[in-house]
Structures are given as C-alpha cells and as structure tokens.
C-alpha cells in the first residue's frame, strides 16, 4: 500500500526479546508496549475460555442420563451462572479488542503505540482485578452466585449466594473495557500515519472504532446498574424492590441498555478481523469498503436502540413491543450488508486457500445461522414461543461462539505468524477444523431444535421426550472439545518450535505485514506514508 520500508529485522530486537529495564515476568506485567499487553490479554482470556468450556462440558454431562446426579441442582445453577460470567465478561468481550486490537491497531495504522500506553496497562490490571474478584466470589460469602449471568432482580436481591461480590467483579471489568474503548478511539483519531485518511484506514481499525464508541457509551450504564444492585443488597435503597416502591422492570431496562449493545462489542471486532482475512486470501480488494466501514457504525448506532427485545414477555406495553421488534429487524440490515460484501469479495478472486480463510468462511456460515435465528426472535409471536428456551441458548452460541469464537480463532491463525514470528502446522489446523465444525453444529443445532420443542433453558433436568436432543448435544460437546484441544495444541507446539514465518507469510497488503515478524519494539523503523487505499493489490508486482 506504500513505498517499501527499510526494515532490517536482524538488526532490531523484537518486542519478544527486548526486555527493557525489567527482566523476566516483570518485564511483561509492567510493560506498556501494546504488543506485550496484547499477549497478556491473549494468555489470560484463553485461560478463562478453557475454564468456561470445561464448565460447559460438565453441564452437558449432567443432561445425560447416567450423570444426572453428577452435581446438585444448586451447583448446576452456579455452573451456568459462572459459565456465562466467565465467557461473556472474561472471554468474548475482552476477546478481540484487547488481544488483537491492542496488538494490531497501532501496526495497522502505522503508529508506534496506542495513545495512552500506561492507561492501556492499567486496563489489564483492572481486567485481572475484576477476574480475581469474580473468582473469589465463588469461595466467599454465601458461595457462588446462582442467578444466571443477567443477575435479574428480585431474585438477585433475595438469594443468599455471593451476588454482591460477583457483581462487583463485573463492575471492575467494565472499567477495563471502557478505558480500552477510550484508548482506541483516541488512538484512531490522533495517531494514523501521514496520508492515512479515514477512508484509507483498514477495516479492522474501523470495527475497533465502532466498538470503542459502544464501550464508551454503554458500559457506564452497566456500571451504575451493578452499583444499584450492590447498594440494594447492602443497604436496601429500594429502587428495584417492589416492597419499597421500586420496580424490577427498571432493572431489566437498565441491564439491557448495556448488555444488548455489549453483544455488538463482542461481534463487531470479529467481523472486522474477517474483513481483513478475506481480501488477503482472495488476492483482491474488499468489495464495498465504505459499506462495510459505515455498517459497523450503523450497527453501533441502531444496536443501542433495540435492548427491550429481551423483555417482550416481561410486561411492556404492546406499542413498546412493536417498536423494539421493528428496530430489531432494522439492525439485521447492516449485518447482512457485511455478509453480502464478504461473499462478493470472494467472487472472481484468486483464492489462496489457507487455514485462516477456512475459519473465516466458517464464521460467515455460523454467524448467518445465528443472525437469522436472531431475526426470528425479533418477531413478537415467535419470541413468546421460544422465550427462555434452548432456542435462545442455541442462537446465542451460534452468534457468540460460532461468530465471535470462530472469528477469534480465524484472527489467531491469521496473525499468529506476525505475533510470534512462527508458523503452525497448517495440516493440524485443517484437522482441528473437522471436529470443531461437526461438534459445534451437533451441540448447538440440537439446542435450536430442543428449544422449538419446548425445552426450557437453565433447567437442571429434562423430560424423556428431550433425551435424543440432549444426547446429540452432549456427544457434540465432546467432539467440539477434541477439536479445540487439537487447535490449541497445534499453536502451542508452533509457539515452542514452529518454523520461522517471515514478515509476510500470507501476502497481506495492510501495514502490519510491512514490518518484521515478530515486530520490533518501535514497530516501524520509519513511520510509513500512505498513498493508496487499504487493500490495494498489485498483481503486476507479485503483491
């Protein structure tokens, strides 16, 4: 995209080797280098993901006849609560922006770091502090929270479990997310390389920009809602308590004003990563650059106005129900625009089939199922039928795991050689895909079917009529986990002794591929000047 840079990787220490003033582990947890912070987030979020997945497997086991009494009903409640809190607050929300956003954003816009490097490190401290508090809530007070990750009142006010501390952990995690958003917005406004106009900026930064605004605008509402739950539990202020004149429905509104936009915090960065992967492996520019950039912003804007579609059965007025149903249909439009643009990008491209592309295509397939089942629930009549059933659980996992999860895996495969300078076994990456894809669909498609048949979510046990569906889902969970183990084992092996990857193994044309792998501490020897749109391929030069 710009003139070749004079980079001499062999003369410049990479961010992995250069230890700075402090050595060893201290050199990592006190480093303000965006690349090191990105890896700190990577290691922590993947660890939490592994724990969350393990809890998921246990929950699936409980639904299988011989294991009905593996855990008590109370423990089951605690398990799905903690599974949700872990996966949402500790993996999916801090998945792409803090890991790949931190690592790639400055590289992709030609900057040496983010706007506030120290704040960036503090964000990780907030993240770890919130995680530790959430973990402590399991073993202190009345034991692990049993409310579900939504902490709905009045039950969350009445239960004797340690909801207060779990909520406090989520409150602290919110700070981490919010500060990262502030950091990225400022970075994108102020630190783009000379010549990189807004419409020359790659689309992953655009996605991070849209995400940053949601983080800034929505997270404070969650913060105050959680503060109110804590105050309600500690001193009984009465705002959510009907006995004191309060209203539980107010809690649901405040909670979803954050938590619905939060699903776009989770999905937009994954969409951005997919948008980077497709042009690189189709060897042609992205189709509809502006449509993709602005649809991210449109999702962020419209997505902030649809929260009450979680509450169609909670007793709102019919007019409110219709309004939120309409808005929910509208928010599907910009997502569909992206799907069409991705597909059109592949059309007449010279496809270079590699593992990241396979995972990116899987993202499009699974996300489409998740998105379409989402539109189904936006329709009021269907919603009443499927509300609080496994259909919701299936839909949510198609979007969040099939979407954000596979987007995370695709991004990891795409940028792994850049981050660590080593290449993994492509064959193992393909092999891992089969069990992941098959297991995933066995597990979550069964849930969609079970939900339509009437299986309620969060139930400890089920009627015999649901046996087959649960059996397929549970076996699917084993196959899925097998795939995940192969996937991550492959990366760990590559991390230890993978072949050297070189600066640009995929032939990408965005800025991060112009510097060494792994990048030097300062990212670029000379800050590049941008003269072309992003994703400009030059087949005549072999690029």
């Amino acid at each position: 995209m710009s003139a070749p840079l004079s980079i001499h990787p062999e003369h410049v220490a990479s961010y992995l080797d250069d230890e700075g003033p402090r050595k060893g582990i201290l050199g990592w947890i006190t480093s303000t280098d965006h690349k090191r912070i990105g890896l700190l987030y990577l290691y922590s979020t993947v660890t939490f993901f592994a724990v969350g997945a393990l809890i998921g497997v246990v929950m699936r086991l409980v639904q299988l006849a011989p294991f009905h009494h593996l855990v008590s009903a109370q423990t089951y409640n605690a398990l799905f609560t903690f599974h949700g809190v872990l996966m949402i607050f500790l993996f999916v929300i801090p998945g792409l922006p803090p890991v790949f956003g931190n690592f790639m954003l400055p590289l992709m816009i030609g900057a040496r770091d983010v706007a506030f490097p120290r704040l960036n490190l503090y964000s990780w401290y907030f993240f770890m502090a919130g995680a530790i508090i959430a973990l402590l809530s399991l073993v202190t007070g009345g034991g692990p929270a049993d409310t579900g990750w939504t902490f709905y009142v009045p039950f969350s006010l009445k239960t004797g479990t340690n909801v207060t501390m779990a909520v406090f952990g989520a409150f602290i995690l919110g700070f981490s997310s919010m500060l990262t958003g502030i950091n990225f917005i400022t970075t994108i406004h102020r630190m783009r390389a000379p010549g990189m106009t807004w419409l020359r900026m790659p689309l992953f930064p655009w996605a991070l920009y849209a995400t940053g605004w949601i983080q800034v605008l929505a997270t404070p509402i969650l913060a105050i809602t959680l503060v109110l739950v804590m105050l309600e539990r500690i001193v009984g202020i009465g705002i959510f308590d009907p006995a004191k004149g309060g209203d539980p429905l107010l809690y649901q509104h405040l909670f979803w004003i954050y938590s619905h936009p939060a699903v776009y915090i989770m999905i937009i960065p994954a969409m951005g990563a997919i948008t980077e992967i497709l042009p690189t492996f189709a060897r042609r520019t992205i189709f509809g650059y502006k449509a993709i950039a602005f649809s991210s912003m449109a999702i962020a804007a419209v997505g902030s106005l649809v929260w009450a579609h979680h509450m169609f059965t909670s007793g709102m007025s019919p007019f409110a129900n219709m309004l939120f149903s309409l808005l929910t249909m509208v928010v599907a439009v910009p997502s569909a625009i992206k799907v069409f643009n991705w597909t059109a990008t592949l059309y007449k491209g010279s496809i270079n089939f590699q593992p990241p592309l396979l995972y990116a295509l899987t993202f499009i397939f699974l996300f489409s199922i998740g998105g379409l089942t989402g539109v189904m629930q936006g329709a009021l009549a269907v919603n009443v039928h499927v509300h609080d059933t496994y259909f919701i659980v299936g839909h949510f996992h198609y979007v969040m795991f099939g979407g954000t999860g596979f987007g995370f895996f695709a991004a990891l495969l795409y940028w792994f050689p850049k981050m660590f300078g080593r290449m993994y076994s492509k064959r193992a990456a393909y092999i891992a895909w089969f069990p992941m894809f098959i297991g995933f669909n066995m597990l979550y498609f069964s849930m969609l079917v079970l939900g339509l048949q009437g299986m309620p979510r969060r139930y400890y046990n089920h009627l015999p009529m649901f046996d087959t569906g649960h059996l397929v889902a549970t076996v699917g969970s084993w196959i899925l986990v097998l795939g995940l183990i192969i996937f991550f084992a492959n990366l760990v092996v590559a991390w230890i002794r993978g072949a050297k990857a070189g600066p640009n193994p995929w032939g990408g044309v965005t800025l991060e591929w112009t510097t060494a792998s792994p990048p030097p501490v300062e990212n670029f020897a000379v800050i590049p000047t941008i003269t072309e749109a992003a994703y400009t391929f030059h087949p005549e030069n072999g690029a």
Partner: protein, 206 residues
Amino acid sequence: MSEAGTIHAEEHHDYFGAKLGMWLFLLTEVLLFSGLFIAYSYMRARYPVDFHHAGGELNAVIGVANTFILLTSSLTMALAIVAIQRGERGRSLLCLGITMFLGLVFLVDKAIEWTAEFRHGNYPGAHHLAGQPPGEQVFFGLYFTMTGLHGVHVIGGLLVLAIMTVLVARGQIDRDRFILLENTGLYWHLVDVIWIFLLPLFYLAA
C-alpha cells in the same frame, strides 16, 4: 520557553489527544449518572405527590448554599489554570488551595445534611421511612444514592487536586505543560454541572 523543550513536549505529548481522551472519559461519567437520572424520572412520574412531599423534608438552604460553594470553586479552578498558563505559579497554588477548601466545605455541609436526615429516620432501612408511602421511600433511596455518588466524585476530585497541587509546586506542571491541570479542571466542572442538576431534582422538588 526553550526550543528544545518544545520539540520534546511535542514528541511525547499530544495535547489534543489528551483532551479528547478526557472528554471521552467525561462522557462516560455523564452516562454513569444518566442511569440514575432515568431511574429518577421514571419514579417521579410514577409518584409525583410523594416526591413533592419528600422534597419538602430536605434543607433547601444548605442545598442552595452548596451550589454557590461549588460554583465558586469552579471559578477558582479556572483561575488556577489561567494563572499557570501565564506562568504565575504562586497564584495558581493559591487558587488550587481555595478550590480544595471549598470542596471540603461542600462535603462538610453534605455531612451535616445527611446527619439530619439520619436523625429524622429518613434513610433506607430506617423504621420511620418504612412506614412512609412507597414514593417517599424511593425518593430517599435515590437521594442517598445520587448525592452519595456525587460526593464520591467530589472526594475523588479533591484527591486529584491534591496531586496536581504537588505537581504545580514541584514545577512539573508549568506554562508549557498544563494539560493535566486543564483536564482536572474539566473533571471538576463536570462534578459541578452534575450538582446543578441534582439541586432542582431533590431540593426544589417540593
């Protein structure tokens, strides 16, 4: 100022970027309170009469006095920034001192008020309040939450002001590098603005 100093400052400090980041942070603060304002509006629409009665039990004189105190502290805060921009360190320190003093007076007033409400039994969990109509219970729940959260912000602001005073005294904030003090000023004004909304909503609700 020396030329070398200027270049150095430009290299490591993006004045506009620092300000943008601060405004974004202030936006999150506004939104934090907005959740409570939503709750307030909803509850007031639901219990207009109870809110009217409960508002009458607050001491409007102290409320208005506190408004003047905070507004004056915003003035001295702004003067402290102007002084440092002109390189008048002594005057800046004096203004910062007055700002912190007024902030403390505000908190003392607040403490007097809260003590009075506690004595009247108008606090969540009190036997007296539990016997009042639901709207009054919610009113005092909101009153303590919102003025309490505001008070926490005043305390936070005072701590930051204390740090800024040290930095000014040490010369780490001077006429060339005053963005930290300017951002602190922005924060202090925001705390002030939020109070200006709290005053009519609670003290003048009667």
